[in-house]
Subunit: 314 residues, 2 copies
């Protein structure tokens, strides 16, 4: 038992990231059933769809699960009402100000966790009264911070700045990297990319296969002028590079990004025109397996890593 | 004993990075005397100065020490002759092709280690016959790779690709991050920024104090069009940003960089006009102490971290 497993009443300190277009009730419930914390990613769901996913998740697991809500979500009030009405126990918020909804969620009995990429926002989230922090490094997939601080550096910095339980994210896909994150001061890990290639993720099979093929340098943090995002290099990215070369304005970049790129890539499987959000660890992932097997592998490797380490005395 | 401590005949698997303008014989010999591997950074030395530093280092320590040589050094032949003549036992090469000098150095009895930031160059260095690899992540200070792969992701990738002993660099300044690097698959760590703020580093006191003040986001990897370098944001960096905004060419950037910026900043202490090469971990460093104390602190924290970890069983 540690701070995070007791906070969430879960077996393993492994949290599945709530990823757009990848994490519906199937993934969330299977991760929770395997002893981790499964999370429904609300970012890509209309409120009625989210409600359906929560209902199905409740049916599919008796274990705790959570919902991730980006605070820039257009229909926040409706989403919060659904979360409270459906008695969701754990809410992860990201991409916005934790002051606005934290107290309402907490007074309804929710545990609230906020995702940050900087010391500054970790402190703000602590002041806002959240129960735990996810600190996400530069190597993480999807939307990310502007400071470019890597997990290796960010976790000790945030650990020193706050008292709350701390979940490390970015660059973690195996038991070894989980052990590394614990060494850095994390109480648990949040894993995204690895679960994208689980059987239960709703990501398109083309995208899952593209993740398996990824190598070092296949992803990049780009579009820093709009919202920084780590994604795979593809035709769409090449077009962004051309726009940068022409000295395009943020408005021109936004226009080219348009709407629906993420869905097109990750859910519909268009590997050329779509936005394919994934972390640098994609380069370490080489198979599509059930999420319960992912968790089993991670725990086994973690335990053997800890055993090896315990024999070192300098 | 592990692969690296037995290769170099040192007590602790801690290697002090050979940094320009920071690591002369004083730093190298004091690190070696404290049980790590001290390294003279030849990159900022004329051949006769290097020779003097090697001679003084031999007088100051009976323990093994090394010399770091960037392979783009203009007077390589003279440097290699000095290394062989002075019977330097350990040479770290970086920034260039390891095929050219490795066999000559090895046939003279040297251990040769090559610094890389990618799987591709790790494999090339292994083929060239080096004895070990330093893999350096995106968060490291100074010159760096183009792939932007962080230490958390890079170390497991390279570990899987080569059989040689592996030294992790980038983001490591404490016993906790050292333990994390070992979890990721490293046999040892190379530490730069932390030793910049040691009493024995030849870095200017203004620069040392600036490192203590650094916070998250104080450094950035820039000048990717010339040679990527991680440095502190200062007036010189602001000027680079202006040049980027104007759409300057790599030639214009090179012209503005000019010659002697690194010396001006790190050795002469001009914090405005100088180039201040340092890693993201600068944000974790808060005191100037002897390098022997740095090593003692790191080892103590490492051992206590390992002890804590060994009590975890999932």
């Amino acid at each position: 038992m540690n701070k995070i497993t007791s906070l969430f009443k879960i077996k393993y300190p492994i949290i599945q990231a709530g990823m757009v277009w990848a994490s519906g009730w199937r993934l969330a419930s299977s991760v929770s059933n395997a002893g981790g914390l499964g999370i429904i990613g609300a970012g890509s769901m209309h409120p009625d769809i989210l409600k359906m996913h929560i209902e199905k998740c409740i049916q599919a697991t008796s274990r705790p699960f959570g919902v991730n809500v980006p605070l820039i979500y257009p229909e926040m009030k409706e989403v919060i009402d659904i979360l409270i009405q459906k008695k969701v126990q754990i809410v992860f918020t990201s991409a916005g100000n934790p002051n606005i909804w934290t107290s309402k969620l907490k007074s309804s009995g929710c545990k609230v966790v906020h995702v940050v990429s900087s010391v500054k926002f970790a402190k703000k989230a602590e002041e806002a009264g959240v129960d735990a922090i996810v600190a996400e490094g530069f190597e993480a997939g999807g939307h990310n911070g502007r400071e470019e601080t890597t997990t290796m550096v960010l976790i000790p910095l945030i650990k020193k700045s706050i008292k709350l339980p701390l979940i490390a994210a970015g660059g973690i896909a195996t038991g070894s990297s989980m052990a590394a994150a614990i060494c850095l001061g994390a109480d648990a890990v949040q894993i995204g990319s690895r679960f994208v290639t689980s059987n239960e993720a709703s990501s398109h099979i083309n995208f899952k296969k593209a993740v398996l093929k990824a190598k070092q340098g296949s992803t990049i943090l780009t579009l820093k002028e709009i919202t920084p995002v780590r994604m795979m290099k593809n035709k769409f990215y090449d077009e962004i590079v051309d726009l940068y070369k022409k000295g395009s304005t943020p408005e021109e970049l936004s226009k080219h990004l348009g709407k629906g790129r993420a869905k097109k890539g990750m859910f519909e499987g268009d590997l050329e025109e779509g936005e394919l959000e994934i972390g640098q660890v994609a380069s370490q992932i080489d198979k599509i397996i059930p999420s319960s097997d992912i968790i089993r592998e991670i725990i086994q490797e973690f335990n053997s890593q800890i055993k090896n380490l315990s024999s070192i005395k300098l």
